[in-house]
């Protein structure tokens, strides 16, 4: 019972830590950038995991929700309230990003509630392309050239805050009746219907929640790199998120964190990796940089992982710390 308090305490300490890092500039700019990226990726992974992992669908459109959130939030901070940089505005902008994305996710879910499997995947692809194309044609947000001059409002403490909120809310959802409905849909939709599960409502809710947090991630992303254009949110980005989810493990919050962390660190590590200059006997070699070859190594790792562990590193398993205490009671009864 005592260790149930460890997680909340760690979270608070972590938050204080990030505030201190931010205030006293304890880490260099690049490290902070990577940490913030990891945070954004965790949010993307956890939210996509709702639809792809827990509900067992295959959405390739998540970057679209990210883009919607990014643009919505940026419109607020750059176009509508350009000189206000308060935390309140940023908070509202991020929420606005989430809400816009959630609304579109809701519409998409309604349009496609009858479809499942591959055809749903295709609809999400179409959605992604439509979002990207639409943004390219809207001149208010800069069309294909995008939006510049977004203020750097995404700090480490904010990122930490949103990561915690995302994980907490999604975890609450999973361990509620809606979460069970979502998993039942994945396992056997016909049986779920026969048990009175409101599958239609669960699907729509899952999509809306997933897109909400996708939008949040997008809003944070926009205010980190300070420049967005439609091609930042294309199929390549969606693929990246997919890779993280399947790497870390489907249907698992711990997996989402793991996937985001491993992918981001590996990506950055391989980017910096320089072999040599060195000498083997009389053969001088290097310095070699991996360059784009790292984008060959990473998917290769993913393919190998799929061959040996098709559900990802932590597929369908979860850290006990994430479970609400009532779920643990039955698990403990086993002893």
């Amino acid at each position: 019972m005592t260790c149930r308090w460890a997680l909340p305490v760690l979270v608070v300490i972590g938050f204080i830590f990030t505030v201190i890092i931010e205030k006293y500039q304890l880490f260099n700019g690049y490290t902070v950038f990577v940490l913030v990226t990891i945070g954004i990726n965790i949010i993307l992974c956890a939210s996509l995991n709702l639809v792809n992992g827990y509900m067992g669908e295959f959405s390739v459109g998540h970057a679209g929700f990210m883009g919607l959130g990014a643009y919505a939030a940026s419109i607020l901070t750059v176009k509508i309230f350009p000189n206000v940089d308060t935390p309140v505005l940023f908070f509202c902008a991020v929420i606005a990003g989430g809400l816009v994305a959630a609304f579109i996710g809701f519409l998409l879910a309604i349009l496609s509630f009858k479809t499942r499997g591959d055809y749903l995947a295709i609809i999400t692809l179409a959605f992604l392309m439509i979002v990207k194309s639409s943004l390219e044609n809207i001149h208010y947000v800069g069309g294909p050239r995008g939006l510049l001059g977004i203020h750097h409002l995404t700090t480490l403490p904010w990122t930490f805050f949103w990561v915690v909120v995302t994980l907490w809310v999604i975890r609450n959802l999973i361990y509620s009746k809606i979460g069970r409905a979502i998993i039942a849909i994945r396992e056997d939709e016909i049986a779920a219907n026969a048990m009175g599960v409101r599958t239609r409502e669960a699907k729509i809710f899952a999509f809306a929640t997933s897109s909400f947090f996708g939008g949040i991630a997008g809003a944070l992303y926009a205010h980190q790199i300070q420049f967005i254009n439609p091609s930042s949110f294309d199929i390549l980005k969606s693929t990246e998120i997919l890779v993280m989810v399947y790497l870390g493990g489907v249907g698992s919050l711990g997996g989402s964190i793991l996937g985001a962390v491993v992918f981001t660190l590996l990506y950055r590590f391989l980017e910096q990796l320089t072999i040599g200059p060195g000498q083997l006997g009389s053969w001088h070699f290097g310095p070699w940089q991996l360059g784009t070859w790292r984008m060959v190594i990473m998917p290769l790792i993913l393919v190998l992982l799929m061959l040996f562990r098709p559900r990802g590193i932590m597929g369908l398993r979860e850290f006990a710390w994430f479970l609400p205490s009532r779920e643990l009671l039955t698990r403990r009864k086993k002893e």
Binding site: N172, A181, A184, D188, A194, M195
Partner: protein, 258 residues
């Protein structure tokens, strides 16, 4: 006494194939009603029609006097019709307890939004759900497996879990599709006892599709016989047993002890 479930002249066509043809039967409340017939006679299709997976091409299906034909399956389940499946359809990756809870969730009424923030009502309802479902598992003798993955259970226990799950819905009527499939004669006898207990304890009307004749004759108050999608006989076990049409279609040289 008005029937709990009534099938009135129902026909179901899939393109050119007529799976059910002008079928009628009435299930009285509190009874155990058997549906038998050769393979392919349309028995499972009938269940699928009742539970809303298919919509009848012609005819009416009335439950408690109201028409349910064409309703969505989850609405029909909520109205009080529970079922099991011929090939067990459990949520394999969920625990035994969670399988039951997902059916019991129909009794929980907190809003999705409150679930997101884990409001006190949610915690309270969920704890109550766990307690109630554990009790249910206990009465079904499955408590020790509460935390196991459903797919890890032995076949016989999986069948029992499927019935427990359907009971968690608090149904008025329970449709069982070949619950004795794959069981030997000793296990079948135990199942018969078990079903009598379920009916007694949970006050449900049972409709049973089965091939094991001893079980059907021993358990059922009334039997409907289907062949090629049509009703060829309907009556008490004694009447069916001596019905020539039934014997010709089905019982002649039947596989009583597989």
């Amino acid at each position: 006494m008005s029937a709990l479930l009534e099938i009135k002249a129902v026909t179901k066509r899939f393109g050119g194939l007529c799976a059910i043809s002008d079928c009628s039967l009435a299930v009285q409340p509190g009874s155990t009603h058997g549906i038998i017939g050769p393979n392919g006679a349309g028995k499972t299709t009938l269940f699928n029609l009742i539970t809303g997976i298919y919509k009848p091409t012609e005819g009416e299906i009335l439950f408690k006097g109201a028409s349910i034909a064409g309703d969505r399956p989850n609405h029909i389940a909520l109205k009080g019709i529970g079922r099991t499946f011929q090939n067990i359809r459990l949520c394999k990756e969920l625990t035994v307890l969670d399988n039951v809870r997902s059916a019991y969730d129909t009794q929980l009424h907190y809003s999705p939004l409150s679930a997101l923030f884990q409001l006190p009502r949610v915690v309270r309802d969920e704890k109550q759900s766990i307690a109630t479902c554990l009790e249910l598992l206990k009465s079904f003798g499955l408590e020790e497996f509460a935390n196991h993955r459903a797919s890890d259970l032995a076949y016989g226990f999986q069948r029992r879990l499927e019935i427990a799950r359907a009971i968690a819905l608090k149904p008025d009527i329970l449709l069982l599709d070949e619950p004795a499939a794959g069981l030997n004669s000793g296990e079948t006898v135990k199942l018969m006892e078990f079903l009598r207990w379920v009916k007694e304890n949970f006050k449900v009307t049972i409709v049973l599709i089965e091939h094991h004749m001893k079980m059907v004759m021993g358990l059922c108050d009334r039997i409907t016989v289907l062949d090629f999608g049509a009703t060829i006989a309907d009556g008490t076990p004694a009447e069916i047993h001596s019905n020539q049409r039934v014997i010709d279609a089905y019982l002649g040289g039947d596989s009583d002890d597989e």
